[in-house]
Structures are given as structure tokens and as C-alpha cells.
Symmetry: C2
Subunit: 247 residues, 2 copies
Amino acid sequence: MKTGAKTGATGAVGAGPDAGERPEAHARTGVRDRVTEALRAALIIGRIQPGRPMTLRGLADELGTSPMPVREAIRGLAAERALDISDNGRIQVPRMTEQRFAEILKARALLEPAAAMLALPNLDRKDAPRRLRALDDQVDASLRDGNVEAYMRHNHAFHFALYEASRSDVFLPLIESVWLRFGPFMRIVYGRVGTAGLVDHHKAAVAAVAAGDAEALGEAIRLDIAEGMALIREALVAGAADFAGPR
Amino acid sequence: MKTGAKTGATGAVGAGPDAGERPEAHARTGVRDRVTEALRAALIIGRIQPGRPMTLRGLADELGTSPMPVREAIRGLAAERALDISDNGRIQVPRMTEQRFAEILKARALLEPAAAMLALPNLDRKDAPRRLRALDDQVDASLRDGNVEAYMRHNHAFHFALYEASRSDVFLPLIESVWLRFGPFMRIVYGRVGTAGLVDHHKAAVAAVAAGDAEALGEAIRLDIAEGMALIREALVAGAADFAGPR
DNA sequence: CCGTCTTAGTTGTGATCACATTGCAGTCAC
DNA sequence: GTGACTGCAATGTGATCACAACTAAGACGG
């Protein structure tokens, strides 16, 4: 592995340790889409630290392409505010501020329950709970193991299994954008305070799906988000995490 | 004007008739940003028809640059779903569907009242109503003149004068993204049914700002959005507009 | 030992090129 | 007249190049 290029390579964008490489899976996708997916995954899992500088050539080397597809991928992610391009053009994962964080959670609390409720009619009352329960089991397993990265990936999978069922090409992009933004930050928080005190409302959500109760589903999601917020608040008063991230 | 290139030039992206060209205004911005702004403005005003194909080289010629900055601008807009890139790579303004439209209004009804309420504490109780009233007067004037394009620009200005006061770099991008998506479609609707039957709740919103009443402000915005929805519904049952747009 | 200036390297940006794919118009057979 | 076919033009994509702005390390003088 010759990622020795000292030129802005993060080493955090490549396929994760247990990402399950499938080289032939979607070989028909262009290079840019592959780059975009790599970056999105890294951001949502929080594998890239906020404030960490990235460079076009560094990422290009790391991903084995020319800077060109990286430029477009970066530009797309920057449009979603998942990456920050400063005035001088330098690229970095945005730092979190207290105000921004509060607003992200507020936006999540508005958008995600709505998406879940929108999804409910499209969910099979028998099959969907089974699938969701399986995903939630993986979340719980990650929590038991204290594996932050696995937790974030599985938590994402659980939530989006729900939201994707809404088949909404309005709500889904909005929600994805928000997750991209708070992923790196959450990773830092979890990395510091651990995932031990984490409580989610996934089981209530699954029960609501099984019951076909839209109101209860929305409330479960709302509580799940509020819970995350409470955890952060706790971590903050404990002084264990600051919003700026490292450096 | 030699836009005679038959190569995908829309002729709708350049500076509008009363855009007030200021060549030296922000000469320090890069070419890409200029292209992005031109496209955003054209989309929000609805100057580009849904389904209309665009090409990199066509836009580049029209804007007097190479295809390169256009590529990045397009990629950014596509990330916000303001433009649609089909499987074969062709670029076009997304067509509207009934489901999508309903969801956009639902998202607006969730996000915009929240942004307005967030903005309230930052608004001067004396100065802000004055500025908002001035903007709303321009909206009313456009409605009297039946000038659809001016209406859309001024309506946008009114709403975003409010939302921008929230200074939220979370809500603002989300809301902008949504406006970019329904702009072209609304333009078609207004172009067909006219702006005569248009009723807004801007005055109630201004009054709420003057009174410092957050709840009333949120409700005014909510009603304003619902009003737009009602108009569309009307236009639809009248059969005057379809969701696909022309061609 | 510290501050200032210089310089070499790195960065993003815009332009241009080569190429595979796709869409389309013109043609030809029937 | 209508169909399939063929060839060309146009499209997005990825790579490469030239360049200006900037960074940071090194040289130099105090």
C-alpha cells in the first residue's frame, strides 16, 4: 500500500476494513460516481476528521485516478455542504459549531419523522419489521462491541432503510445532506464519550411499523433524534468534547 | 449576439432583461461561481423550462467560457437535484411529477416556518418590517403588472430576506435547494394560469415580525405555502397545466 | 536566538485534447 | 410512403497542461 504520498492523502477514504469489496459489483459506474460514493461513505461513517484538509491530487492518488473526477465529486459534495471550500479554494470537512449542530438536529427532527411517516404506506407490515429488526440487531451488536464505526454504519442503514421506503426524491436528498454533515462530528463525539450510554428508539419505531401507526412512528424517530441530542449535551457539559474537533 | 450555435444553447441563462449588469461588481469571483449564479438565478426565476436539454458546450459558449467551469457548476447543481443528469449523462431541468410536487410543498411547509421563526430574534422590530414591506410592495406591483418573472424574483427576495436573517447555514441551503427545484415548474404554472388569482400572506408575516410573534410568523409562512399549493390544485383540475411541462 | 525575506513546492483553476457512446439525419431497399 | 440501416456530428468523461495564488520551509541579517 503506497499511500505514502505526503500530499494531502487522508488514508481514510479507501474501502474500509470490512467494507466487503465487490470489484465487479457495479463496474459500469463511472469513476466520478465511485469517488463520490467513497467520499460519502467516509463522511457518513465519520472516517474523515472535521478540519482535516484534503487535496484533489491527494485524493486522486489515493483512489487511483486523475484529479478530474475528484474535482467534480468534491464540487457535488460541497454543494450539499458536506465539504467546505474556503475562499482560497482549500477543501476540508466542515468544522461543527454549536449553532450549526443545534440546527442540524432541528432539521432532522422536522424532516425524518415526516419521511418515515411517508414511508409507512409502502412498508409491508410483516416483511418490513423483520428486515428492520435484523438491521437493528446489528446496531445493538455494534454497541455491545463498542465499535463506533460499525455502529454509525448500521445506524445509518437502519434509518435509511426506513426513509428509502418513502421513495421520496425530495426528502431523501435533504436528509442525506444533513447526515453527511453531522457524520464526521458525531464520530468524534462517540469516539470520546463512547457508545455505552447510547439509547435508541429503534424498537419503538419497528413496533410502530408493525402496527401501521404513523403517529407512533414519527414520535419514535423524533425521540431517537432527541436522544442523540441529549447525549451530546451531556458530553459537552462533561467537557469531553468540543465542537471544533481536533486541531 | 451570436448565440446561433445550435448546440444546446438555451438562451435563457444569460443576464436577464432587467438584471442590472454590473460587470465590475464582483470581478474577484471565479468563473465557476459566476456560472453557478447564472444558472441558479435562471432556475429560481423559472427562466429555464423543465425537460429542456442543456449541454456543457452550449452553456459554455453562451457564458463565454470553456466547458470546464460549467461542468463543475452543473455537478454542483445536480447534487442539489436542481438539475437532472440521466444515465447517459445528458443534462436537463428535472420534470415535475405530482408526487414530487406534493413532497416539495410538504418540505417547504416544514422547513420555512422553522427558518422564519429562527430568524425572528435577529430581526429589528422597526427596521425589518420596513424592508420587508418594501419588498412585498414590489411583489404586489409585479402581480398588478402580470409580470410573472418579476413576481417570482421578488417573491423569492421577500422570502429569503426573512430566511437569511436566520443566519442558518443549515436551513438556508436546504430551503434554497427546494426553491431551485420548484422554480421552473411554478413558472410554467403561473405562465398558464396567470398571477391574477394569487394571494399571499406576506402582510400577515410582516405584521408578525413587527409584533415579534414567532407563532404567528410561522403560521403566516405556512399559509403562504399552502396557498401556492391550492393554486396549483386549482390549475390542475382546470386542466390548464400538467406536471410534465411542455414537450 | 529571533525576525524577515526569499524561494521552491503545492494547490485549485481553467483550457484543451482524445475518446467512447449516443442520438440523429440522410439514404436506400422494399 | 415506410421501414431499417449507416454514417456523422455532438455529447459527457477523463487525462493532461499551463498558470497564478498561496504555503511553508530555508537563508540571511540583525
